[in-house]
């Protein structure tokens, strides 16, 4: 009853417990080693503040890289209240095998373009969400572990901005104004000559 922890863990003390711990550690190692280093991301946070109606769409880039010596197939998904306003390009892509975790050589990488499209009519002033990059098994049948790295996204919407018309709208306004003036001139001149 008065056994110390070391005595309990010793093969003589409790051989079954020790073997259980070793098996657990090995399994944990198998699961954790690829998850920690397989996919690299940057930046891990995206925070954007916009005036309501100021910009219809704008983009931000996220760099994803592979540090493993095996190729990866990565899938990107968006969740949270911000999801309707975000589009990812590409949503799925392959990363070639990297030089290894200990190597200083550059890892194969891929830029993912995050396009924000915010309409003028939005109900909330703050939207949050997560862009998740998960590793899917490649065609070679490598170990499919549940790897998922997240990029937090925050969108703050400020007060309403003035509309900035493009050139073609301004040109049409000018044409309409000229048309109004010229139609009045035509009517006045006709009346005068009658």
């Amino acid at each position: 009853m008065s056994q110390t922890l070391l005595e309990k863990l010793s093969p003589q003390g409790n051989p079954r417990l020790l073997s259980k711990i070793i098996i657990f550690m090995v399994l944990l190692g198998i699961c954790l080693v690829p998850t920690v280093k397989a996919i690299g991301l940057g930046p891990t946070q995206l925070g954007v503040t916009v005036e309501k109606g100021a910009e219809t769409s704008f983009t931000r880039n996220i760099l994803v890289w592979n540090s493993l010596e095996t190729p990866l197939h990565v899938k990107a998904t968006v969740s949270g209240s911000i999801a309707p306003f975000i589009k990812l390009e590409p949503e799925e892509f392959d990363l070639a095998a990297g030089p290894g975790m200990s190597s200083e050589k550059p890892s194969p990488s891929q830029y993912v373009v995050v396009t924000f499209s915010i309409p003028r009519e939005v109900a909330e002033s703050k939207y949050t969400g997560t862009i998740t990059f998960s590793e899917a098994p490649t065609q070679g049948g490598t170990l499919a572990t549940a790897i998922a790295l997240d990029v937090g996204v925050k969108l703050n919407i400020g007060t309403m901005a003035k509309a900035k018309f493009p050139v073609y709208v301004t040109a049409l306004i000018v044409i309409l104004t000229i048309m109004l003036i010229s139609s009045v001139v035509v009517v006045i001149m006709r009346r005068y000559y009658e």
């Binding site: 109606g53 309409p119 007060t159 309403m160 709208v169 049409l172 309409l176 109004l180 035509v186």
Partner: protein, 141 residues
Amino acid sequence: MSKIFYGIWVYSILCLILVFLYGYYTEMFESKILNYNLSLWSALIVNVILVIFSIISIRGPKLLPILGIIVTPISTYLFYASWTQMNYMYLTGFIIIPVIMLSIATIMKFYEKESRREVIPQRTISTEPQNVTREGIGTNY
């Protein structure tokens, strides 16, 4: 003709005012009435004015009044969609409608006056010699 012409003229002015408000007082369209923002209601009021003018002048030439009635819902939607979706292509469509209608109205007004003027020269006396006889004009023996 003059009723629909002045109706389209007033409609074009109102459209122009609406577009200026869109550009310089964008936030005013944010307020809502019955779950719809002011962009819908203001565009609807402007287009109702055009419909009223179209109905009043339906007895005259039919082209512009019918065109006015047809474009009214389209124009309302274009302005509303342009504001809510922040898509200026819709606004382009909204401005093109009065431009086209005003062009047609001005041309029609112009030709209406021209046709009236053309009637007057027919009354002028011809200077060419005519065969006048005791029996009457234009009888030769």
